[in-house]
C-alpha cells in the first residue's frame, strides 16, 4: 500500500469513528444525565457527583414495572399469534393451491401497505364494539395477522424441497404432521429473524397502544413514557432521562448482547 493510500484510509477510518460517535452520543448523554442531578446535567458538569435519585424518583412517579409487564404481555400475545397464524396461511399458499389463492394472496399483500397504524380510527370503533378497548388483547389483535410474516414464511416454505415432504408423507406423516415436523423446523431461521423484528417493532410501538389503552393495567412502556415525558408536566431532564432509560433498557440490553443476531435478522427479513 502506498503512503497516500494509507493516509486516505486512516482518514476514512477516522470519519467512520466520528460518525459512530455522533450516532451514540445522544444516547450516551441521556445515560450520563440520568446519573446526575438535573442542574449538573444541564450545565454539563463532568465531575459532578453521581446519583441514583433520578431513577428512584422516576420509579416512584410511574409504575414502570407494571408498564414493562404490559409490554411483555403485549409482545407475548402478538408474536406467538403472528407465528401461528402466518405459518398456517403460508403453508396453505405454498402446498395447497386452493382456488382463489392468488386473489387471497393479493388481499394479504394489501396489509403491507395499509398497516393498522393508518386505520386507527375504524379499528378503535371495531374494538370498542368487541369490548376490547383497554385490554392487551385489543392492543395486539390488529397486528396478529401479519402480511409481512405470511410473505416471509411463504418465501421460506417455497424453498423447501418437495422431496422432503414426499419422504415424510411416505413415512406416514399427516398434513399437519408434515407442517410441524418438516416445514416449521426448517424455517427456524426465518422464525427467529421475524421474531426479533416483530418484538422490536411492538416493543417500541406507540400510537395504537396510546389510543387503545386507558389504564395502568394495560399501558405499555412507550405510552407510559409518553405520558410521563409529555412536557406538559414540566420537564426535569435527569428524571426524564432516567425514565427513558428504564423504558428502553430491556430491549436495548437484549440488543447489545445479541446485536449480531439482531442485525442479521433485520437483514434477512429485509432481503426477502
Amino acid at each position: 500500500m502506498t503512503s497516500k493510500n494509507k493516509f486516505t484510509s486512516s482518514l476514512e477510518l477516522m470519519g467512520a469513528y466520528i460518525l459512530a460517535a455522533f450516532w451514540v452520543l445522544p444516547l450516551l448523554y441521556a445515560f450520563w444525565a440520568a446519573f446526575h442531578y438535573s442542574n449538573d446535567a444541564i450545565h454539563f458538569n463532568i465531575f459532578s457527583p453521581l446519583t441514583l435519585d433520578n431513577f428512584r424518583e422516576a420509579w416512584s412517579q410511574a409504575p414502570f414495572l407494571r408498564y414493562g409487564l404490559n409490554t411483555f404481555l403485549l409482545v407475548s400475545f402478538i408474536l406467538p399469534g403472528q407465528l401461528l397464524i402466518s405459518t398456517l396461511a403460508a403453508y396453505a399458499f405454498v402446498r395447497f393451491k386452493f382456488s382463489g389463492a392468488n386473489v387471497a394472496f393479493a388481499l394479504v399483500l394489501v396489509q403491507l401497505m395499509i398497516t393498522p397504524e393508518i386505520l386507527i380510527v375504524q379499528n378503535y370503533v371495531t374494538l370498542s364494539k368487541l369490548g376490547l378497548v383497554d385490554t392487551i388483547t385489543g392492543m395486539g389483535l390488529p397486528y396478529v395477522a401479519s402480511a409481512f410474516c405470511i410473505f416471509l414464511l411463504r418465501q421460506t416454505f417455497k424453498s423447501i424441497p418437495k422431496e422432503l415432504e414426499d419422504a415424510a408423507e411416505l413415512e406416514g406423516c399427516s398434513t399437519m404432521g408434515i407442517l410441524w415436523k418438516v416445514y416449521v423446523p426448517l424455517a427456524t431461521p426465518t422464525f427467529i429473524a421475524f421474531s426479533l423484528v416483530s418484538v422490536s417493532h411492538h416493543w417500541n410501538n406507540f400510537l395504537w397502544p396510546l389510543i387503545i389503552s386507558n389504564s395502568v393495567e394495560t399501558r405499555p412502556l412507550t405510552v407510559g413514557l409518553g405520558i410521563f415525558g409529555s412536557p406538559e408536566t414540566g420537564v426535569d431532564w435527569s428524571i426524564m432521562s432516567a425514565a427513558t432509560l428504564i423504558s428502553v433498557a430491556p430491549l436495548l440490553i437484549a440488543f447489545l448482547i445479541f446485536q449480531k443476531q439482531f442485525v442479521q435478522s433485520f437483514m434477512q427479513a429485509g432481503i426477502k
Partner: protein
Amino acid sequence: MKDSVRNFQGWLLFAPAAILLLAFTHYPTITTFLNSLYTNKSVIRPRRFSGIEGYESMLSDPIFWKVFANNMWLALGTIPTSIGLAIIMALIVNKAIPGRGLLRMAYFTPTMLPMIAVANIWLFFYAPEIGLIDQAASIFGFESTNWLGSPSTVLPSIMVMTVWKEAGFFMVFYLAGLQTISPELEEASKLEGSSRWNYFWRVQYPLLLPTTLFVLINAFLNSFKLVDHLFVLTKGGPDNASNLILYYIYETAFAFLDISYASALTIFLLVLLALTALAQFLFIEKRVHYR
C-alpha cells in the same frame, strides 16, 4: 374429489389469517370510506349522507394542505440524506476494519429505540437556552435559537432527528445488498487498476440500485406512519409547522371527535400510499432488475 379436499384444507388453514385481515384491514378500509361520505352523528344533528362534501372541505382546509406539504418536505428532507448515510455506513461496516462490530452497533442502536424515547432524548438538545445545542452554540457566541418553537427550524430539527433514527435501519438493507455482490468483482476491478471510488460508482452503486429503490419506497411509506415524536416534541406546532397527516387524523378523530373528517383524511392517505405502492409494482420493479 381429492382436489376439493385439498381446496377445503387450504382455505381452512388460511381462514384465521383471512378473518383477522378482513376485520382489521379490509373492513375498516371500507367503513372508513363510507364514513367519509356521511356527517357525524351528534345529539343536535343526525347522521346524513353528505357525499363528497367531506373531501371538498378537506381541499379547502388550509391545515390539510399544510400537513400534507409538511409530510412531503419531511420525506424529501430525510430520505435522500438517510440513504446517503446508510450507504456510507454500509460500506464502512462491510469492510474488515478494526472495531467493525462496535461501529455497526453504534449505527444500528437508534433503530432499536422507540421513537418516543428518541424524542425525549432529543428534546434536551433542542430546548432553547438550556438545551445542549444552544449551550454549545453560546460558547461560540451564537444567539440562542428556538429550534422547535419557530416554523423555519422546527421541521429541519425533526428531520435531523429522523435521519439519526433511520439511517442505521436503512444501512441494514445496503449491508444485505453489498453481501450479494461477489467479492470477485472487486478483485477483478482492482486488477484492472480501478480506484475504489470508481469501483463504487461503476460497480457497487448500480448493483445496489434495486436496494435503493426498495428502501426509497419503504422509507416514503414509513414517513407517513411515523408521528410518535410529535406527541412529545411539538404537538404539531407552532401553528401546524410540524404537524403531519397521521397526527392530524389522530387529532381530528380523537380530540375533535370528528370521525367523518378523519375518515376523509384517512382515505386520502390510503390513496396516496396505494399509488406509491402501485408505482413500485408496475414501474420500478420492471426497470431495475439485474437478475
